[in-house]
Amino acid sequence: MNNAVFSSRNMTEQEFFFGHKACAGCGGALAVRLALKVLGERTFAALPAGCMSAVGFIYPQMAFGINAIISTFAGTASMLAGMAAAARAQGLEDVHIVGFAGDGGTADIGIQALSGAIDRGERIIYICYDNEAYMNTGTQKSGLTPLGARTTTTPDGSVVGGSTTKKKNMFDIVAAHGIDYAATASIGYYQDYMNKVLRASQCGGTAYIHVMAPCPTGWGIPTEHALTIARESVDCGLWYLAEYSQGKYRLNQRPETFTPVEDYLRKQGRFKHLQSDDIAQAVRDRDARWQYMLTQWSDA
């Protein structure tokens, strides 16, 4: 597995995602900004309907300093593939074709196009910035909303409290395609994230990065805690940093001990209503996942 490390000291000073209208403290905006700083100016980006397109392309304010386009909601990966084909047809070399789609745009409406693009081995980088709900429309449940999370479509009611489904496992889904490179990341561990964007750009095929990118507005946290909560999700073991390439998995961090899941959940308005047995369930699910990763990923 490629161990390339991105040097933040030598990175371009140029900002390629600037002047956007994202909420203060937006994890997704940071994911886009940093990825573009890694990829540089010979980059073509596509973003479907979602927060980052909604805040980046409001005429006449154009927040992308590189070539960028809003794709159809369902068609991020296919539009990227078309762009890659056009680049080949025109003999454009040394360019990056990158997509930034949210959790709904990736795991729900866009999964068909993503699957097709991976299947064809398109030379594209697909980055899912996961804030665990449809935030652009005001926090509705997506396929990546975790169990118990309160959203506007999974309210904390008197009978049902929060999301009744678990988070879909996009990393495993993508890896199961035999993709050239896949990684999970957290915007809280931004050096690791940037390294992964670099490796994605060097993998020579299809790359997928799933970056946890908290939304202070939707999660019910102070804006200043967007990155600390992102780190805590990794530290408590509910999220993990991993890579997949050439059939092999690697865990980038294996905490000796996890920080308490309850502390992580209690800091967020969306989990305020959880009872102790809900939290116990979250801990059991975490342990099962880690058991799986540590035993099934023999090379982890």
Binding site: S8, R9, T12, E13, Q14, E15, F16, F17, F18, G19, H20, K21, A22, C23, A24, G25, C26, G27, A29, L30, R33, L34, Y59, P60, Q61, M62, A63, F64, G65, I66, N67, A68, Y190, Q191, M194, P216, P222, T223, E224, H225, A226, L227, T228
Partner: protein, 99 residues
């Protein structure tokens, strides 16, 4: 820091003044974000070790990298306060606007 300049946007008078379809110059910035802020970060640059964490962590790209220090671009800082928690030396604190 190389960020796009803030430009005037002359309001079109004629249909020809619009671009042909929804395409426009990349990085064309007409609005600043300063008005979004209730608090602004203040960096004690004298003790700054130039680790660049605040620079990296800013969702706005509103912290400029200098030779041996960092500087907040208050025209685009939204005052989120993320940088406060990224500074390993606790050299950044938020202060209310207008003070």
């Amino acid at each position: 820091m190389r960020r796009p300049p803030v430009r005037e946007y002359p309001r079109p008078n004629h249909i020809r003044d619009y671009p042909c379809g929804p395409h426009f110059q990349a990085g064309y910035i007409v609005d600043k974000a300063a008005g979004w802020r209730l608090e602004r970060p203040v960096i004690d640059v004298r003790q700054c070790i130039n680790c660049l964490r605040c620079y990296l962590a800013c969702p706005e790209g509103a912290i400029a990298r200098q030779a041996n220090k960092v500087e907040v671009d208050l025209e685009f800082c939204k005052g989120c306060g993320i940088c406060v928690h990224e500074c390993p030396k606790d050299l950044i604190h938020m202060t209310a606007e207008g003070t």
